[in-house]
């Protein structure tokens, strides 16, 4: 396929790399944050940093939904699962996320009925097939996933399925970006905007980043050349003194997003006053809860959720990694006490987490660098 070659072509990448280098002002250092974990994955997988001048660094952001779930919410979900008549259903990514009292896998091993599902609709099907059980779906994710959860609740309501509910942990991307911008630890020159979240919310919600914060943002696709092109567009804007929201991923992302997806989220969910993010602390109006209208599908209302706060392990520096203040390998436990097999922090659990991405791909290139320098 023509377009595959175009988005992968090493020759084009080298041309882009040359153009990127030419746009950099001598002596100036640039820091761009890729908000989305999918982008982090692409960057490490394809070694894209090797295509960039040393003065351009990519900083990894908070856009990994599994990574930002605090330990207390994992414990709350396990408390729900420990009811004798409950089946807790969850995406596979969540299963190894450590809470204060272990992970879903640990709880399952101890006897709780916790099942992995691919889709919230699979969870609804489990509810249909087990009318004598209460089936709870562990709903996580940014705006990419929230519409699917909302559609499933609407389906449950339409079909009168009374033994189904969701434990709502959906978060929203804009407050997380605001929290990053407010962080005094980090000075950024621009953002590579999340691709699939933007499919739902569109590009307009990012306007404040250019208008009020004075930083450019480019929504990017997930191919290597998409990301390099976005860096190019960011540098071009800075060089020309522009500061705008641009859409590099226009072949998938409509400028206004998906109106139907936004409508179903608004029908079923509303903003919480505040929500705790792992490593980032409490951020106001940053997450969604089930509206009173759908209270019978809200696990938080149905079950007496303890709502405990659990401090992150002291050794774990996921918070700094999520804010882009630390690179994964700068964390003290990275690759030693904390590995994908025995994760201490969430960034090492999800394939979209910066630590897991770097552990799986980056280490290899670091080895190669070592080999190259030694030969």
């Amino acid at each position: 396929m023509k377009f595959v070659d175009e988005f992968r072509d090493a020759g084009t990448a080298r041309v882009l790399a040359t153009k990127i280098a030419a746009l950099c002002e001598p002596g100036r250092h640039y820091k761009f944050m890729e908000v989305c974990g999918g982008h982090t994955h692409t960057i490490y997988k394809h070694g894209l940093e090797d295509y960039l001048p040393e003065t351009v660094s990519l900083v990894h952001g908070p856009g990994c939904p599994v990574c930002v779930i605090p330990m207390g919410r994992v414990d709350d979900a396990i408390a729900i699962a420990e009811h004798d008549d409950v089946i807790l259903t969850s995406f596979g990514d969540m299963m190894r996320v450590p809470g204060g009292r272990g992970s879903f896998f640990d709880s399952k091993a101890a006897g709780a009925d916790i099942r992995m599902v691919y889709s919230p609709l699979d969870a609804l099907k489990v509810a249909r097939r087990n009318p004598d059980k209460r089936v709870v779906f562990m709903a996580i994710g940014f705006e990419t996933t929230a519409p699917s959860t909302a559609m499933t609740v609407l389906r449950a309501a339409a079909d009168g399925i009374e033994n189904f509910s969701i434990f709502c942990n959906h978060v929203t991307i804009i407050p997380a970006i605001k929290a990053i911008l407010d962080s005094p630890d980090l000075r950024l020159d621009g953002f590579i905007g999340p691709g699939h979240v933007s499919t739902v919310i569109g590009c307009r919600p990012y306007d404040f980043i250019s208008a009020r914060e004075g930083k450019p943002l480019v929504c990017a696709g997930f191919e290597p050349l998409d990301i390099l092109q976005s860096v190019y567009q960011l540098l071009l804007q800075l060089g020309e003194g522009r500061c705008e929201v641009e859409n590099q991923y226009s072949r998938v992302v409509p400028w206004d997003g998906n109106p139907k997806a936004l409508q179903v989220i608004g029908e079923v969910m509303e903003l919480r006053p505040h929500f705790e993010w792992r490593g980032l602390g409490f951020i106001s109006q940053s997450a969604l809860q089930v509206k009173a209208k759908y209270a019978t599908f809200d696990a938080e209302r149905i079950f007496n959720v303890p709502g405990v706060r659990v401090a992150d392990p002291k050794a774990c520096q996921c918070g700094e990694v999520l804010k882009g203040v630390l690179k994964p390998w700068e964390c003290k436990v990275f690759g030693t006490a904390c590995t994908p097999e025995t994760p201490i922090g969430t960034c090492m659990v999800s394939s979209e987490g910066a630590c897991a991405a770097y552990y799986n791909f980056g280490r290899f290139s670091r080895e190669r660098v070592k080999e190259a320098t030694h030969s």
Binding site: K125, H196, T199, N258
Partner: protein, 93 residues
């Protein structure tokens, strides 16, 4: 979980509201297409490519993008294989 998987619409399933049979790398699966309705109108036909996320079509994409995404995702290794296995195990009809 957050990976989008591209698939080609084979047929709209008349007997199930909002479901379409979609081919993902040769595997046929039912996918919910309700989020592509705008004002009740569904602009989708066999041969169209969609981006699938946790069992739902999130957006309509052109074929070139679908192929590109597939190529990218195949290269992801384990994460993509797991996502495909999870999709294969899912039956939302």
């Amino acid at each position: 979980m957050c990976l989008g998987i591209p698939g080609e619409v084979i047929e709209l399933m008349a007997e199930h509201e909002d479901l379409a049979m979609v081919s993902v790398e040769g595997v046929k699966r039912a996918v919910n297409i309700g989020l592509l309705r705008e004002d009740g109108v569904l602009d989708l036909a066999p041969g169209d490519w969609i981006l699938i996320h946790v069992g739902f079509a999130l957006s309509k994409i052109d074929e070139a993008e679908a192929k590109a995404s597939l190529d990218f995702l195949t290269g992801l290794g384990d994460a993509y294989t797991e996502e495909l296995e999870a999709l294969a195990a899912s039956d939302i009809t």
